[in-house]
């Protein structure tokens, strides 16, 4: 039994959720190999070889694999699949795009967003926006899994010494083409890797208040900035700030929810945080039912005070 974990990485390095996927693969009990697929992958294979618990790094370096397009990456996974019992990737945008495609090509029912490993065939996954946990057992010969990164402590970035091997990339007819990206630029940590997150909701009233009131606190705490769906839909902040069922699933040490009422869909994305703080002027807001520390206050006075106190 050997697992293959598809790593998420970019120019800044291997993403923390990828190491959580390695941790999930390690729980299966067999050997863990990782795949570095991309164009001009540079130092990434060397970094991948150091991840604790990894015994082999497969490198697929080809122009067709740039920008994590699902079609060529899924074709590559099908070519590699005969050697593996399990194929995993973190449930990142790339993992969610690629692995269900690869699974279908293998005639396998993908198991999405697993939050627990029971045994090599049996997995726990949240359903109904995390309001229930399903334990499912797969009868497929091979398992294809996406991993809820917030549910697995990432494997250590150092400590391994894996062999590195280059693999051949199958030629595929190009039916999809990358045109461009509009990526948010930020010096702050990424939401899915941050230890502290400060999130704003509709109560922030506009994007300027995010800049004026939330960002200075985030900077003092070394925190990432998140948002509720309402704040994203209203255009206060870009889509990649969204925490929730269909946005990012996070579990930081500290989550500060400001002006967020606490819709089920938002709670689904953050209720596994270690400590939750809610600041809201509506004392009946549902967010207080899951907050460790609640402060009923107008955020426009509370946030400047908080910034001063830190």
């Amino acid at each position: 039994m050997t697992s293959l974990v598809v790593l998420d990485f970019d120019a800044t390095g291997i993403k923390q959720p990828a190491r959580s996927a390695v941790a999930a693969a390690a729980k299966l009990g067999g050997e863990v190999h990782v795949l570095v697929a991309g164009a001009n992958v540079g130092d990434t294979p060397a970094a991948a070889a150091k991840i604790a618990g990894v015994s082999k790094v497969l490198v697929a370096d080809d122009a067709s694999l740039t920008h994590e397009l699902a079609e060529p990456t899924a074709a590559l996974l099908v070519a590699l699949a005969p050697n593996y019992s399990h194929i995993l990737q973190a449930a990142t945008a790339a993992g969610k795009n690629t692995l269900p495609r690869a699974a279908a090509l293998l005639d396998v029912q993908v198991i999405s967003d697993i939050s627990g490993v029971v045994d090599a065939d049996t997995f726990v996954r949240p359903i109904y926006a995390g309001n229930a946990l399903a334990t499912v057992k797969s009868s497929d010969a091979k398992k294809v899994l996406t991993v809820r990164a917030a549910s697995f402590d990432p494997a250590a970035a150092e400590g391994g010494n894996a062999a590195i091997e280059t693999v051949t990339v199958p030629g595929t007819e190009q039916k999809s083409k990358y045109i461009g990206s509009e990526l948010s630029k930020s010096e702050r940590p990424e939401l899915t890797a941050a230890k502290i997150i400060v999130s704003g909701g509709r109560g922030m009233q506009n994007g300027e208040n995010f800049t004026k009131l939330i960002e200075p606190i985030a900077d003092k705490l070394g925190a990432a900035v998140g948002a509720s769906r309402a704040a994203v839909d209203a255009g206060y902040v870009p889509n990649d700030y969204q925490v929730g069922q269909t946005g990012k699933i996070v579990a930081p040490q500290l989550y500060i929810a400001v002006g967020i009422s606490g819709a089920i869909q938002h709670l689904a994305g953050m209720k596994d945080s270690k400590v939750i703080v809610a600041i809201n002027k509506d004392e009946d807001a549902p967010i207080f039912q899951i907050a460790d520390y609640g402060l009923v206050a107008d955020l426009f006075t509370a946030l400047p005070e908080l910034e001063k106190a830190l």
Partner: protein
């Protein structure tokens, strides 16, 4: 261009679901059911393509129990032209749904298939990707903008770092994310008109698809409950608690 849309009947998103006491699943008896919200967005996108003169016909497909006809009727009232129900009492998994949709898309000669990115009941986020794989078509998942022209679909996608645009050679599969559009409410005259639109009813066998589940549900349980903590009177107390009690700052 013929467009196929897929719509799923799910527990309404406002319902607080309850896990059954025997842990076999979630209580759905006597619970309000509606169209999966992401599928509503997919329907809306197809209807807008028809209003722009790009789509010629919209076929709304659902897989599920007989009552899923109501979900198809909703799509017809929003502007789809006709419906197909693949009727089965089996809880069909995304891979099997994709196989059924593939058979229908081929029969219909569809050039574009639009689906919601995930259903809010099983949260798989897989059917569109599986369908594109089986058809050998390109996929534009988590779409926040779709433009059709020159034999291509240009799709802006919501990704972890922001937005990404890809160009797909038609035929293609697109899955709708939250911000693709705001679905319309069906007007009363359109609801009346939808009653006269045809719905074909097929069985999985008619399409030669085996829908036997690959996954067995061992159990369904409540997630660990999180207790409400304490209210703090002011910012100073909050900071003191975070420093000395929770020790997180």
């Amino acid at each position: 261009m013929k467009v196929v849309i897929a719509v799923k009947r799910v527990v309404d998103y406002n319902v607080k679901v309850r896990v059954k006491s025997d842990k076999s699943g979630v209580e759905t008896a006597g619970v309000k059911m509606s169209m999966n919200p992401f599928d509503e967005i997919a329907v809306e996108e197809a209807v807008r393509l028809k209003e722009k003169g790009i789509a010629t016909e919209i076929v709304a497909v659902s897989v599920g129990v007989n009552q899923a006809q109501e979900t198809i009727r909703t799509a017809l009232a929003m502007g789809a032209d006709r419906g197909v129900l693949v009727e089965t009492d089996v809880a069909v998994e995304p891979l099997a749904v994709a196989k059924l949709l593939k058979a229908i898309a081929e029969k219909e000669g569809a050039e574009l298939i639009v689906l919601g990115k995930q259903a809010i009941d099983d949260d798989f986020n897989a059917t569109g990707q599986a369908l594109a794989a089986l058809l050998g078509w390109p996929q534009g998942t988590f779409a926040s903008k779709v433009e059709i022209g020159g034999g291509n679909a240009t799709v802006t996608r919501e990704v972890d770092g922001g937005l990404e645009t890809v160009e797909l050679k038609l035929p293609a599969v697109v899955t709708a994310d939250l911000r693709l559009n705001e679905p319309r409410y069906a007007s009363l005259p359109n609801i009346m008109k939808a009653r006269k639109k045809p719905i074909d009813i097929l069985k999985p066998d008619d399409l030669g698809v085996d829908v036997t589940p690959r996954l067995t549900v061992v159990s369904v349980s409540e997630p660990p409950a999180r207790k409400a903590g304490i209210k703090v009177p002011d910012v100073a107390t909050l900071v003191e608690k975070l420093r000395n009690e929770a020790k997180v700052i």
